[in-house]
Symmetry: C2
């Protein structure tokens, strides 16, 4: 019986090390030391650092709350953007996500883990609100993907380029997003 507390400590330490070092420089020795754990405890659970990391990613997938349902496309889009900003501003996500995106180009296993644990859940979460808007006739089906991109891509881009994202920015981005989306139908 592997001690769940040990597994937990390792996973937390792995994510923390991932945030500090990135996947390429992630060192199993350091994860063990940080978790206050022997290396054997790690290799008893996972065959290599890749699988350990993949399990760690599940910890980053938590969506913050219920799907926005303000009754209007404008309100929902704005709420989705706010959630994206909050999520991308979380220190762990902020430090880990760009690295994972880059690493995914070279590591299919990691890419799939990122998609399954992070990208797809987040996308599905936001899509629920947009599907409702579509059902209300506020949004053309063709535009759903585009609007989804716009709720996160500009925020991610600005944050990774050390430029601020404030309420005013999100307000204007919202108007622009629903302006085009609504015009469709």
């Amino acid at each position: 019986m592997l001690d769940p507390a040990v597994t937990e400590a390792i996973t937390i330490a792995a994510v923390a090390e991932l945030a500090e070092s990135g996947y390429a420089r992630l060192a199993v020795d350091r994860v063990a030391r940080r978790a206050g754990v022997g290396k054997s405890a790690i290799y008893r659970r996972w065959p290599s650092k890749l699988e350990m990391t993949v399990d760690g990613l599940a910890r980053l997938s938590i969506m913050t709350g219920p799907v926005p349902d303000t009754g209007s496309l404008r309100g929902d889009v704005r709420a989705i953007m706010q959630a994206a900003l909050d999520w991308l501003t979380d220190p762990r996500v902020r430090a880990v996500l760009p690295d994972l995106i880059a690493e995914s180009d070279r590591n299919p296993v990691l890419a799939e883990a990122v998609a399954r644990n992070i990208t797809r859940p987040r996308l599905a979460w936001a899509r629920v609100a947009l599907d409702r808007a579509h059902a209300r006739g506020e949004l053309a089906a063709d535009d759903i993907d585009l609007v989804l991109d716009l709720t996160i891509a500009p925020v991610f881009w600005r944050l990774t380029h050390a430029r601020p994202v404030d309420d005013r920015y999100l307000d204007r981005l919202t108007e622009l997003t629903i302006g085009g989306g609504a015009a469709g139908h």
Copy 2:
């Protein structure tokens, strides 16, 4: 007198290795072998692999052509997006840029080199067209930054998530971008 042909060969090899391995795994030995050069030739030119890499980045900064000047905001934005897509689709840029963005979080020297050689020149290039649109009264000053983000962030986001970007996508993104921007004034 250092042989410029040798310097050139090293730089090309460094960028190619950077694309394949990423900065964290970039190995000087491999750069030397790929360039058909001794390691001494590299360390005669740069004190470490960081400086070698920084010089290599200058090679990625080349903008493809003249600043778009179609006479309308719509046409210019569309042309800027197309240029962004072409640039981001270039195999070298495609493989290197996400890695550099991630690495910039941990390496200030690299971050500055990326900004100087890649981000700022590209931004300045596109801004010329948007400034002209502003002068024509087609675009509020406040919206310039937002429009600049929209010409590249969604494209980058989609490509790094293994989703296609076609003409139709850029067309709709253009309409949406100028829709909001023009409404300002």
